[in-house]
């Protein structure tokens, strides 16, 4: 993934997490822990995983993803790259 693309995807995911999941203005960075810090719960994890598929235009099998793979936005994108397959 190129640097510019990474930044764009990361920003979109951060905006989504702040707007749809946390629901209040919070400073988030690409390496802010989300799962381990308790900022997001299991249902939010599922929603973010589905949004990650939309952003990256990949199919990410949930059976291949662990919550620790989704702990930060950077890890989410790395996971998408590792296990994701281009959508048909």
């Amino acid at each position: 993934m190129e640097e510019a693309q990474f930044r764009e995807y990361a920003q979109r995911i951060i905006d989504y997490v702040v707007r749809e999941v946390i629901g209040r203005p919070v400073e988030l960075a690409v390496d802010t822990p989300l799962v381990s810090s308790g900022l997001i719960d299991s249902l939010a994890l599922v929603n973010i995983l589905q949004y990650l598929e939309d952003v990256t235009r990949m199919r990410i099998p949930a059976s291949k993803v662990q919550p620790k793979d989704m702990d930060t936005v950077a890890l989410m994108l790395a996971t998408a790259q590792r296990v994701g397959k281009p959508r048909k």
Binding site: G38, S42, L43, V46, A62, S63, K64, V65, Q66
Partner: protein
């Protein structure tokens, strides 16, 4: 605990200490495995052979998965593990429900589930799931068998994961006072919770006037307040029992430098049902989240599908305990509660409901705590009809005019429950003060003008304000003798009542 069991525990502890001195990792692992098998064989060689068979089965399936990652091998592994667990855990009660006489019943009664099977089967399953998720795991057969049979957890968890255990099995442990101190404290804390708090809540301050009698001996005629206190009381009884057990196990492992996953984190202070499930039986609830909820919920984009998965996952959680309608009802109840919590969250966000954070947190706790407490009625009731009868009483206004339990029951439950919240509040305030004190001390030391001897100023502050920190950091120095005195008191009191002293088994060893 018999002399035989105590001897085996002694041998295992000695073996562990000897294993510490071995320079070879393999030799140490082999001795630990032998000690673990010796410990487990205390419940019968038949049980041990099933544990070894399950370990070999999962190791072979893991080897197949490592060679080629296919969903077929994964599902074969899941199926075989479920069949093995189902045969011992679910077949006998199902047979008894279908046949009341006959050879089927005789056969089913001969099937006895190996101790801790629900726990180590889930450990085996998590290994297969982790491999399928491309986790880099390369245990040897020796290491995998040790992971499945590791003696502190083989009995009743916490449910461990291989990625956390494998590096620890491979590490050369060095003696550490911090481990000894922390481990001892956890051991004492656990023993106190189990042998004092859980014992008093369960049996009562006078034998037969506790929570257990409230469910087993009072068949009907409870008052509304009785039901509330039985639900709350049993929740605390289970907490003191299982969290006490977890402290003992985690503390024992910590004495030898092994860190096990935590199982409880102040669950009764949770402000939402979903937070509660990140703090109660954490090793199992995170297992259900990681391997059942997330993959299943992400399988569909239908917005209502995750709600169905909440109910499915929590029902499975309940069913994991035993094939009883009460556990299924308890799990389903929590699934439904989680769904209502989500809907409530959405409504709150849609209508921009805002209130001061402290008030909001208090109100959220004031709803969560009773809802969770009522759930324990399903968990503990002897049958579903008893649970439903108790719920009917709960919603009958006339039931609040009578009390059916002895006065000592209300006093004990009230003291222990209020005492727990006072303890939590006090420890939270003290921890905040301690942190503030240390921060101020550090700031003062940095701000000292040149030439002023730093140690004098800090020493003075330590004398005046740091006395608390001294005792707080060495909590177990004074806590241990206090617990010992209390334990002797309880033993004498129990002996005087019943003529014998016995400790009830840990509740979760039944699952």
């Amino acid at each position: 605990m018999t002399i035989h069991t105590l001897t085996i525990v002694g041998i295992v502890l000695v073996a562990w200490i000897i294993a510490w001195t071995f320079p070879s990792v393999r030799a140490r692992q082999a001795l630990l495995l032998a000690a673990s098998y010796l410990f487990y064989s205390n419940w019968g060689l038949g049980f041990l052979s099933i544990l070894i068979a399950s370990s070999l089965l999962n190791f072979i399936l893991g080897a197949l998965l490592r060679r080629r990652l296919t969903s077929g091998v994964l599902w074969l592994g899941v199926g075989l593990n479920v069949v093995l667990l189902g045969f011992f855990k679910y077949l006998p009660p199902m047979t008894e429900a279908i046949w009341t006489t006959g050879w089927q019943l005789e056969l089913a009664r001969k099937i006895i589930m190996p101790v801790g099977m629900s726990f180590w089967t889930f450990q085996g399953l998590s290994y297969l799931f982790d491999l399928y998720r491309e986790e880099e795991l390369d245990p040897s057969l020796l290491e995998f068998c040790l992971y499945m049979a590791f003696w502190p957890v083989v009995f009743a968890g916490p449910v461990c994961r291989l990625p956390e255990m494998l590096p620890q099995f491979r590490k050369r442990h060095v003696f550490s006072w911090e481990d000894i101190s922390e481990g001892s404290f956890r051991l004492i804390q656990g023993a106190f919770m189990k042998m004092f708090l859980a014992a008093i809540l369960g049996a009562g301050i006078v034998l037969g006037q506790g929570v257990t009698a409230g469910f087993d001996e009072v068949k009907s005629g409870w008052g509304g307040l009785d039901i509330w206190l039985l639900g709350i009381g049993f929740g605390f009884l289970l907490f003191f029992d299982f969290a006490g057990y977890s402290h003992i196990v985690i503390g024992t492992a910590r004495l030898f430098g092994i860190r096990l996953p935590e199982n409880f984190n102040r669950p009764f202070l949770s402000t939402t049902p979903s937070i509660f499930w990140t703090r109660w039986h954490m090793s199992l609830s995170s297992w259900i989240r990681d391997y059942v909820f997330v993959p299943l919920a992400a399988a569909s984009r239908n917005r209502r599908w995750p709600y169905a998965v909440f109910v499915i996952a929590m029902t499975l959680f309940g069913l994991w305990h035993a094939a009883k309608w009460t556990f299924i009802a308890w799990g389903t109840y929590h699934g439904v509660v989680l769904v209502f919590h989500r809907i409530g969250q959405q409504v709150k966000r849609k209508h921009h409901v805002k209130m001061p954070p402290a008030l909001g947190a208090f109100l959220a706790w004031a709803v969560t705590f009773p809802v969770v407490s009522l759930g324990w009625i399903f968990f503990r009731a002897n049958s579903l009809s008893q649970a439903l009868s108790m719920f009917r009483t709960l919603f009958s206004p006339t039931a609040y005019t009578r009390l059916s339990m002895p006065l000592r029951f209300y006093v004990v439950v009230a003291i222990l429950v209020i005492g727990y919240f006072v303890y939590e509040a006090a420890s939270s305030i003290l921890a905040t003060w301690g942190a503030l004190y240390k921060a101020k001390l550090s700031t003062s030391a940095k701000a000292l003008p040149s030439g002023v001897p730093e140690t004098n100023v800090i020493g003075l502050r330590l004398n005046t304000g740091g006395l608390f920190n001294f005792f707080a950091d060495r909590f177990w120095w004074w806590f241990a003798p206090a617990v010992a005195v209390l334990a002797v008191f309880v033993a004498i009191a129990t002996y005087r009542q019943s003529g014998s002293v016995s400790v009830t088994p840990f509740i979760y060893t039944l699952f």
